[in-house]
């Protein structure tokens, strides 16, 4: 039977787990609205510890969502972070998927 849940199970929502993690979502949101930011700015804005932020940034870079550029300004080192094209696309897709999921919930709420 076509309506048998066993034959036609509900698909899990297509949510990107790399983006979905709260701390990474905050980092990506910060970088989404600007062109680039340095490590210190993101650390201050997110309130994450240095080690925790480093860990998340490394994961985002491994996923290809973000690129890091190390440079010197005067004698001080600066790590500049910016989203890649696939990083922006991942956030757009994540937003669309979440919107789709939540729209469904809102629709059913009134029934």
């Amino acid at each position: 039977m076509a309506n048998d849940p066993a034959e036609n199970p509900v698909q899990a929502p297509d949510i990107n787990k790399v983006v979905h993690e709260p701390a990474r979502l905050v980092i990506l949101s910060q970088l989404y609205v600007i062109s680039e930011a340095d490590f210190l700015f993101i650390k201050r804005q997110t309130g994450l510890t240095q080690g925790n932020l480093s860990s998340h940034l490394t994961k985002l870079e491994s996923a290809g969502y973000m690129e890091m550029e190390k440079k010197f300004v005067g004698k001080r080192p600066r790590t500049v972070l910016r989203l890649t094209v696939s990083g922006r696309r991942a956030i757009d897709e994540y937003t669309a998927n979440m919107q789709h999921l939540l729209n469904g919930i809102n629709h059913n709420k009134g029934e």
């Binding site: 609205v33 993101i42 804005q45």
Partner: protein, 221 residues
């Protein structure tokens, strides 16, 4: 305590109203935008310019000091940001759309300022037809001229405190027009207040945020 909170929410770009705990993307962008002018360096230089111009109107000894301040303002502002502000609070590059909007506001302000400058020159220097009409309003015209960049900064960076500075300058010039004190004194008072506010803010930022080694550890925790 409550009064202090209101004061900060009125003048401070990092106040709770400016930085909600769960901001939307638009609020995040505004917060990043305001962070580029939150250090007080711009006010410090603006105050110095107003004081130099006040000296120009009151004495001939340092007539051209304001031109020196005007020319050096942008290089000094960049150096202050690069050497003292960015190592403490971080640096960003705004999005292309926002940069285009800021440029548009800047160009619009320059055009308005040029038009007003022509009126001021016509009133003060040349024998323009409106000279008699506006001759006694020299202080107000100059105050409007100097308040244009502040209003433009307030609009471009969505930072209300620049409107407060412009309002203060216009108010003090209004008192000058009313004959309470000369134009130079009005500009001196406004410049001193705006410059002191910027200077104190910059010193507090440097004092409260010591430079530390803040670099990414690529090996994680």
């Amino acid at each position: 305590m409550q009064t202090e909170l209101h004061y900060y929410s009125f003048m401070d770009d990092t106040a709770p109203h400016a930085a909600p705990a769960r901001p939307t993307l638009a609020q995040l962008e505004h917060r990043a935008l305001r962070s580029t002018v939150t250090d007080g360096a711009a006010e410090l230089l603006l105050g110095m310019f107003l004081i130099a111009f006040a000296i120009h109107t009151m004495t001939d000894s340092y007539s051209y000091l304001y031109i020196v301040v005007f020319v050096l303002a942008v290089p000094i502002w960049k150096k202050l940001r690069r050497d003292y502000v960015e190592p403490r609070v971080g640096a960003i590059r705004l999005g292309d759309t926002r940069i285009a909007r800021i440029r548009f506001t800047k160009r619009f302000a320059v055009i308005v300022a040029c038009l007003l400058l022509l009126i001021v020159l016509g009133t003060v220097v040349f024998d323009a037809p409106w000279r008699e009409l506006l001759h006694n309003q020299k202080a107000m015209l100059l105050a409007i001229l100097f308040s244009i960049p502040m209003v433009a900064a307030g609009l471009a960076f969505r930072s209300p405190r620049f409107f407060v500075h412009a309002g203060g300058l216009l108010a003090s010039s209004g008192l000058s027009v009313a004959g309470l004190f000369p134009l130079g004194v009005a500009l001196m008072i406004s410049g001193a207040l705006i410059g002191a506010w910027g200077g104190i803010r910059l010193i507090l930022l440097i004092w409260q945020h010591p430079v530390g080694v803040m670099e990414i550890d690529t090996h994680g925790e």
